[in-house]
Amino acid sequence: MAVAHETTTGIDAAPRQQSAFSRFWQQNGAGYMFLLPWLIGFFGLTLGPMVSSLYLSFTDFDLLTSPDWVGASNYVRMFTADPKFSTSMRVTMFFVIFSVPLKLAFALGVALLLNRGMKGLPLYRALFYLPSLLGASVAIAILWRQIFAGDGLVNKVLALFGIVGPSWISNPNYSLWTLIILSIWQFGSPMIIFLAGLRQIPQDMYEAASLDGASKWRQFWKITLPLLTPVVFFNAIIQTIEAFKSFTPAFIISGGTGNPINSTLFYTLYLYQEAFGFFRMGYASALAWVLLALVAFFTAFSFLTSKYWVHYDD
């Protein structure tokens, strides 16, 4: 009783200015303390390095000696005098343009199959999700090498039909496609999200459509897809960003070279080569910022066009 009394009088007596902070602290302090580990990580490991890489992008920096300010010349060189920049950009755009829609279509297809309420659904869901967990790993990239090499699994199967296949991963005509297939194979996470989205679609719409004699095909185009567009939109953005950032498979499969003939020279791989192969940290930082701008542009573009094709209920 006495304690409670003291507290109330304490607040009344405290000067106004001081109490603003202490009241804030009393209300939110615990929350910020819980956030502290994340905040330390964000400022120390994300924001700090980002700011310093922005600075470095205007310098020549070889790691061993201190950075020299060179103004915008890194950016100028990139757009005017660097053929590998345009090669890597072309490879990455090709990868994004083909892998993202194919992966989403595949994920949606599997989600539709799984949505028919079959037995053992959780098991299948987990199994199909598995490649997404393994996808970016070194082990899978090495496995991919074995499967698509000249004497790999794919060609052994083809040999059964009398077809002599090329060495898919080391032939510049096919190597990028093996990486696209690897990416499609990791359809698990968009599939899970599609599955959740499909569950949200009210069943009575399908019942009404069936009564009106709409075919399954028509139901898909007129009910499922339009009502699923918010989920498609979300998945498309996430997967596009992922595709732009894709690095490990190309790095492992080509041994860090982007070969054969730079056909798998992803933008991130080129960035890595500049940074850690030739120790041009300044130029690599500039490349990183251009990638960030590009991803931001694509994301903004998707948001701007979304009002024309994404249907929200509310």
Binding site: L63, L64, T65, K84, A149, G150, P166, S167, I169, S170, N171, P172, S254, G255, G256, T257, N259, P260, I261, N262, Q273, A275, F276, G277, F278, F279
Partner: protein
């Protein structure tokens, strides 16, 4: 009576315990300084190196914390550690990078150790190779030379006579045709595609009296040379003497992916010290000969290269201890027996004498090869310019591949090589 701890006391007590535990396992400060060692290489090299590190610890008391990586991962890691002021005390160094690291004071001069080793008869050319601007920055761990590795089992099976150091590119053509008509092991070809091997191009240029780079760091050959080089390999490729381009592209660096180990070719351009590692991966007996001559009797393409150095990091707390480890590594007789010629032929005569009788097959072959180069041997070229690595990875490797896959003609590739390399060199020099 039971002991009661409330939550706060429990936390304090357990963290005190943790702190005590941590203090207990951390190295005591009074001990002899411990050394950090970093090197590139495979498991075989690591086993030998760790064994010698343990011998040094037993003899001198310094703990050695060693770390090894593959070549491609090694340089980023070393550069990052150096930039962070956290470079290891003993650093394995390559001819290509020693100038760069020395000029930036990342490694320390070790002339005292050099003088001591010179007195013991350390090969003068190998000491010279570790000098930058007159100061010694690296102790050569062995001499080696480029060499063509030969799968003798495959030659025997195909009934083809083994090449010798006298062999030429014309002989290579004949061997290739013989392999094609023998058709062994699912169409094994004679040789890996050497068109994008920088050392093989270098060797071929030297035989023509040219070089990859001049002492001033400029390009040492012209478009005509480059075009002829690509034409030579196009001819070998068309005649199916060398492996197909998509097979060659499977070679991404690790020994396991090379054409010799995957059994696609019976010959492969490599280095003399690598025979030991390759023999561990190939069931057939391996041998080695020089790179082919451009014509009968033409020599001078090969040279005795310091295969790698040990340097002392400039941030090392105890440089003397680090230098004494390097000294131990190259001169201790017991260490020499463990190391063999895996890093090249030892440069101290006393060490060579200890090693020579202990050598088994592949090591003996490597030693004999480097000791008997004869007229193949030419002078040591100047250290390559800093941008040589970029010329190799951005141009030599890519252009050879482009010609192989038919994306460019030999003429186009030759022109691009000379123009591109000149541009890279002048950009790096500015």
């Amino acid at each position: 009576m039971t002991i009661k701890l409330d939550r706060r006391q429990f936390l304090m007590g357990s963290s005190a315990l943790l702190a005590a535990g941590a203090a207990g396992v951390s190295p005591a400060w009074a001990q002899a300084s411990s050394l950090r060692l970093i090197f590139w290489g495979g498991q075989d090299r690591a086993d030998r190196t760790y064994k010698v590190a343990d011998m040094f610890t037993a003899a001198k008391g310094n703990d050695i914390e060693a770390e090894f990586l593959a070549w491609n991962d090694y340089w980023p890691k070393l550069a990052t550690q150096t930039a962070g002021g956290n470079a290891p005390d003993v650093i394995q160094m390559d001819y290509r990078y020693i100038v760069e690291y020395a000029k930036r004071n990342a490694i320390a001069p070790i002339d005292d150790l050099g003088a001591k080793l010179a007195e013991a008869g350390f090969d003068a050319d190998q000491l010279e190779g570790g000098k930058v601007d007159g100061k010694l920055y690296g102790i050569s761990l062995g001499a080696n030379s480029v060499a063509t590795l030969v799968n003798t089992g495959a030659f025997e099976e195909a009934g083809i006579e083994l090449p010798t150091n006298a062999w030429t590119y014309d002989d290579l053509m004949e061997i290739g045709e013989a392999f094609n008509s023998a058709n062994i092991r699912g169409g094994m070809r004679a040789i890996a595609d050497g068109s994008y091997s920088e050392p093989m191009l270098d060797n071929w240029l030297r035989q023509r009296g040219k070089a990859l780079y001049t002492a001033e760091g400029k390009l040492g050959f012209d478009e005509q040379d480059a075009v002829e080089w690509y034409q030579l390999w196009s001819k070998l490729r068309e005649a199916k003497v060398c492996v197909t381009p998509d097979n060659q592209a499977l070679d991404t660096g690790p020994l396991e992916t090379t054409m010799l180990v995957t059994g696609k070719a019976a010959l492969m351009p490599s280095n003399s010290n690598q025979l030991v590692a390759f023999q561990g991966l190939v069931p057939d007996k391996l041998d080695m000969v020089g790179y082919p001559r451009i014509a009968e009797g033409v020599g001078g393409g090969h040279y005795r290269k310091p295969s790698m150095f040990f340097s002392v990091g400039n941030t090392a707390a105890d440089k003397e201890a680090a230098a004494s480890f390097v000294d131990f590594f190259v001169s201790d007789p017991e260490a020499a027996k463990v190391l063999g010629v895996e890093r090249g032929i030892p440069c101290l005569p006393a060490t060579r004498d200890v090693v020579s009788p202990t050598l088994d097959g592949p090591n003996q072959i490597a030693l004999n090869f480097v000791a008997n180069l004869g007229d193949l041997l030419g002078p040591l070229p100047p250290p390559p310019p800093a941008a040589a690595g970029e010329v190799d990875s951005s141009l030599i490797r890519t252009l050879g591949q482009e010609v192989g896959f038919g994306a460019k003609t030999a003429e186009q590739a030759g022109k691009e090589l000379v123009e591109g390399a000149s541009a890279i060199l002048s950009r790096a020099a500015s």
